[in-house]
């Protein structure tokens, strides 16, 4: 069968079971847009290419399938550079197709020419410039294989216009053996020797903490993680990228650690004698000052990317492998050392056990190495004491300015428990992560590593396209919203009913917080105004329902109204307290032991 390169490209995407492409056409990608008219693949026409990239990321976050974006050459391609960098930092599987000027024009500074494979070399897992139409099916298969296996990540395929126009003989690679990837062999299974050492360390720990990262979600390992936690009785912290991978309502869940983590999660890691890092990478926002991080802890580090092992903190046991596979191997190793399944009724994360803080670990075989394991009760008692003493707090004054945390809690309580929450970057992101109760994996979408402002609106649209059955709420800041709000036009036009809660404090709030705390309240270029733009009018102009909330009493009715609208996007402009700050906080560069728990400046450390 003779096809044009363009036809072969679209057919290859169909062979990969792609159901949606987020994109925007232009000169160099024109040939590829023609066969889209005849394809079963849905195309979502964005208003800016950055939106296409973040939509593809949001789609990938909630479905686990690679998001696909397609844009033209030059500025089209450079506009999607930020989403590529974002997806690289957060290991999001994404395939970006870019048009390129004809091969004969490459290097001549042709109209809309940009060497995008060079530009994105360091912010993609891999990229390809296709120079022969005959290569297209193989390269597409390679691109999806690389994006989705090992440590997932974004890839880019650059297709010159003459290549899309050229004729080729259609084929489809039968399997990975027919791909040309001699240097790509991701490892999934852990080294048995290291697994055994890890299991032994775990049975010797008196103050263990499981440090669960985004790799748990990427590896579809939430179930395995829960079994590991319950059988060992080990408490779990979930990083910003791992929220939802372990139920917040589970008695063993300590919540989020890090710069704005809760006191117990942060301090548990500081005082631990064993950290079991599963798909986490000792990010600086988690560790604080690295030389002072978890000083007494031995480290078991499991990561599918061997380069993460020892990159920041030298582990005592390093295991390169897929988180789910390795956890299952660990469970078998623990069992062989005498730690059996959880005896009696299992510790359940459903809401009925919300008040039950008791923990029942796995049964122990008499005479086995597991029998001599330390009693974890004193450690759990200490953790409970910290939770009692240092909960997350804020104070909504009667008739006072609306607190943003109250809005997050009201949203949480008024929406289905499997609602997908999407955040941008800044104070609103931290409040969302802190005050939402995540009980299900793949319900939290945010920009973690890159910290990309403007992520929320397009990512929420992508998430809703991927999971149309679920309610999707973006919790956004006013600064973030202004960066990518134009994609609500896309959402209206495509009938994608996302909901956006703007926590409008009229400032670039996180920067303002730092200027208040560390720059002697010298506020430099952070004021945005609550009324400019008029968010309600702007929302209406984009085909959305726009609502404004100025007091605590109006919060619940507005959310109820928004939840009842399912035929178009809704934007609520919540006018929140501009002076509210995110606590707890570990100042940049400080030790996690110097965590500041509240505005009184009191340090929780002891």
């Amino acid at each position: 069968m003779r096809l044009t390169g363009a036809q072969a490209l679209i057919k290859s995407l169909e062979m990969q079971h792609v159901e949606v492409i987020f994109g925007l056409p232009g000169g160099a990608i024109l040939p590829v847009y023609d066969p889209i008219l005849d394809s079963s693949i849905r195309h979502v026409l964005v208003r800016h290419e950055q939106g296409a990239g973040h939509m593809a990321e949001g789609y990938a976050h909630v479905t686990g399938r690679p998001g696909v974006a397609m844009v033209t050459s030059g500025p089209g391609a450079t506009n999607i550079v930020t989403p590529l960098a974002d997806a690289m930092m957060d290991s999001i599987p994404m395939v970006v197709i870019t048009g390129q000027v004809p091969t004969t024009a490459i290097g001549t500074d042709a109209f809309q020419e940009c060497p995008i494979t060079g530009v994105t070399m360091d912010i993609t897992k891999h990229n390809w410039l296709v120079t022969d139409a005959q290569d297209l099916p193989r390269v597409v298969a390679e691109a999806f294989h690389v994006a989705t296996t090992g440590r997932p990540g974004p890839v880019l395929v650059d297709v010159p216009k003459d290549v899309s126009n050229a004729l080729m003989d259609w084929y489809w690679p039968a399997g990975i053996d027919e791909l040309d990837l001699p240097g790509y062999k991701p490892q999934t299974e852990g080294d048995p020797e290291q697994i055994r050492k890890a299991a032994e360390l775990m049975l010797g720990a008196a103050r263990p903490v499981i440090y669960a990262g985004g790799g748990i979600l990427k590896a579809r390992a939430a179930e395995a993680l829960r079994e590991l936690a319950e059988r060992t009785g080990f408490p779990v912290v979930t990083t910003l990228m791992a929220r939802g991978s372990f139920p917040d309502r589970h008695p063993l869940c300590l919540g989020m650690p890090g710069m704005h983590g809760n006191y117990t999660a942060v301090t548990a890691m500081q005082k631990a004698d064993l950290l079991i890092a599963l798909g986490s990478r000792f990010d600086d926002r988690v560790t604080g000052k690295i030389s002072a991080f978890a000083p007494d802890a031995k480290i078991i580090h499991v990561d599918v990317d061997p380069a993460e092992l020892g990159k920041v903190r030298r582990p005592d046991v390093a295991i390169a492998g897929d988180a789910r596979v390795v956890i299952e191997e660990l469970l078998r190793a623990l069992e062989s050392l005498g730690l059996g399944p959880v005896g009696g009724p299992s510790v359940s994360g459903d809401r009925s056990v919300r008040g039950d803080r008791s923990v029942r670990a796995g049964s122990v075989a008499p005479g086995s190495p597991a029998e001599g394991r330390p009693d974890l009760a004193p450690w759990m008692a200490q953790l409970r004491a910290w939770q009692e003493e240092f909960p997350l707090t804020y104070a909504q004054e009667e008739g006072g300015a609306l607190k943003p945390q109250l809005v997050v809690e009201a949203l949480r309580d008024a929406t289905p428990h499997d609602t997908i929450v999407v955040a941008g970057v800044g104070q609103h992101q931290m409040w969302a992560s802190q005050y939402w109760k995540f009980d299900n994996p793949y319900t939290w979408v945010n920009s973690g590593g890159a910290g990309t402002m403007g992520f929320a609106v397009p990512a929420a649209i992508g998430a809703k396209v991927g999971r149309p059955d679920k309610m999707v709420w973006a919790i956004d800041g006013d600064g973030c919203f202004q960066m990518t709000a134009q994609e609500l036009v896309t959402a209206s036009a495509e009938r994608i009913p996302v909901k956006v809660a703007i926590l409008n404090n009229a400032y670039l709030g996180m920067v303002r917080q730092w200027q208040e705390l560390f720059y002697e309240e010298r506020y430099s270029e952070v004021y945005l105004s609550p009324d400019l733009p008029d968010y309600v009018k702007w929302a209406e102009a984009m085909g959305c329902v726009g609502l404004k909330v100025e007091s605590a009493e109006e919060v619940a009715p507005a959310i109820e109204k928004a939840n009842g609208i399912d035929d178009r996007p809704v934007v609520i402009d919540f006018r929140t307290d501009a002076f509210e700050k995110v606590y707890p906080m570990v100042p940049a560069g400080a030790s996690n032991s110097d965590i500041i728990v509240g505005p009184s400046g009191g340090e929780g450390g002891r």
Partner: protein, 232 residues
């Protein structure tokens, strides 16, 4: 003279006895595709890994090239450098070579301002090191061009006698261990160096038991094993 060329090998060559070597040799078999060298170079730049030298050439299999990189292990741990390099999709196989496990070779081209007075003494060094005079500026001398490399040191020196006297310059080629090249460079430097170019080193594992640790991109647990070994 270029300080970059003169100094960098000297740092390597002047390693004090008994101190751990600051440099390590990593050879990477890479796919012979467009842009692969840029990916490798960009990785080193982006991660802050220092390179002392880098040499790249095709192998006997034209699908692959071999990149020999002398890395500064003070800028980053070797495991981290190797593991990051291993992540490049186009890198097929990496071999780490400690300096005492490697046969190393480098080539030098140097134009010496020998002058009539220094000429005989420079030629003596040329002969002692087995170097070759490849050019003395005598365009009529066929032996002084590309073919000069084939001749012995003495032969080339003799053939170029008249030309050398005219220009006072001679270009010498020397291939050998990096330390012998350092030594030769230091010996001719007092005569005056007009231009100097070194290739950077290439290396192969020493023959004999337990020398090379080559590995495919696949068996990564050996990397973690390495971390384990040093962590204990």
């Amino acid at each position: 003279m270029s300080p970059a060329v003169g100094n960098q090998p000297a740092v390597i060559g002047n390693q004090a006895e008994g101190t751990p070597p600051r440099h390590h040799i990593v050879t990477a078999h890479v796919e012979n595709k467009a842009g692969v060298l840029a990916r490798v170079a960009s990785l080193f730049s982006r991660r802050g890994f220092n390179i002392f030298s880098l040499a790249v050439a095709p192998t006997d299999d034209d699908r692959f090239s071999r990149i020999t990189i002398v890395v500064d292990v003070e800028s980053a741990p070797l495991e981290q450098i190797v593991n990051q390099l291993d992540k490049l999709v186009n890198v097929v196989r990496i071999t780490e070579l400690a300096p005492d496990e490697a046969v190393e070779c480098e080539m030098l081209l140097v134009t010496v301002e020998a002058g009539p007075a220094g000429r005989d003494r420079v030629l003596a060094h040329v002969e002692a090191f087995g170097a070759t005079v490849v050019d003395e500026g005598d365009e009529g001398d066929e032996g002084a061009g590309g073919a000069g490399g084939a001749g012995g040191a003495g032969g080339a020196g003799g053939a170029g006698g008249a030309g050398g006297a005219r220009t006072g310059l001679m270009t010498v080629m020397l291939a050998g261990t990096p330390s012998s090249i350092d030594e030769f460079e230091n010996l001719v430097r007092p005569f005056g160096i007009a231009e100097l170019q070194r290739t950077g080193r290439v290396a192969l594992p020493k023959l004999g038991p337990g020398a090379a640790r080559g590995r495919d991109a696949a068996p990564l647990h050996s990397v973690t094993g390495g971390i384990q070994g040093e962590a204990g």
